[in-house]
Symmetry: C2
Subunit: 103 residues, 2 copies
DNA sequence: TGGTAAGTTCGATGAAGATCGTACTACGAA
DNA sequence: TTCGTAGTACGATCTTCATCGAACTTACCA
């Protein structure tokens, strides 16, 4: 099984501006919440979203390049999961604070 | 001394989407950081920013309407301060996480 | 009662970015 | 090898929004 990880910033390359900008979009927040319920990761296509596949891919890229999530390939699927540990180390409480809200 | 507070959402009207969107802008993040150093509040004009006065007013309005800060009038000045307690209650750790980063 | 200083509001502009359809790639199965 | 599925990349469009200048408001002071 191939498990190539897609390009993403190292922990010390993550910038808080990029993270906040990535999170400040409703669809992306929806993605984050879906990922929070699946610690082992989730296939992009399985997340229910009100946008087309190409828009979904766009948002996933933004989140990945900001350092919020990590994605690796499994066959034709792409599995994404939150970079919880990295984010917790850099911005302790941030992710928890956001997820606690839940509306 | 008049101390009228400008219109702002009540604690239970604050939406996490609005907060994150407000924070996901470099100039506004700069404002937040300046306010974090001044618990007693600060006059808008005293914050050093790379934008004109009207743009500054725009950003302050976004932050206020999102529920991130509160502003009251003192004479011809407007004093702003972070709504630390409200934010901490709604999204524990979020603000701390952001401010801890500091680049 | 002027004058000035702090700040807002409005309208215009330009840039950023969310969205989509289409074409493309990569992988697995028949 | 051919087909179907998962997902990306690209180009176009449309919307959102950051920015500015100019005009306005309010308060303080001489």
């Amino acid at each position: 099984m191939s498990k190539k990880a897609l390009p993403q910033p190292a922990r010390d390359e993550i910038r808080v501006e990029a993270v906040l900008q990535a999170l400040g979009e409703p669809v992306r927040l929806q993605i984050i919440r879906a990922l929070a319920d699946a610690p082992q990761g989730i296939a992009c296509g399985e997340i229910e979203l009100p946008v087309t596949a190409s828009t979904r891919a766009h948002h996933l890229r933004i989140l990945r390049e900001a350092g919020v999530l990590t994605t690796h390939t499994e066959g034709t699927r792409r599995i994404s999961s939150l970079r919880r540990e990295d984010l917790e180390t850099l911005y302790p409480g941030l992710l928890t604070g956001i997820l606690t809200a839940r509306q």
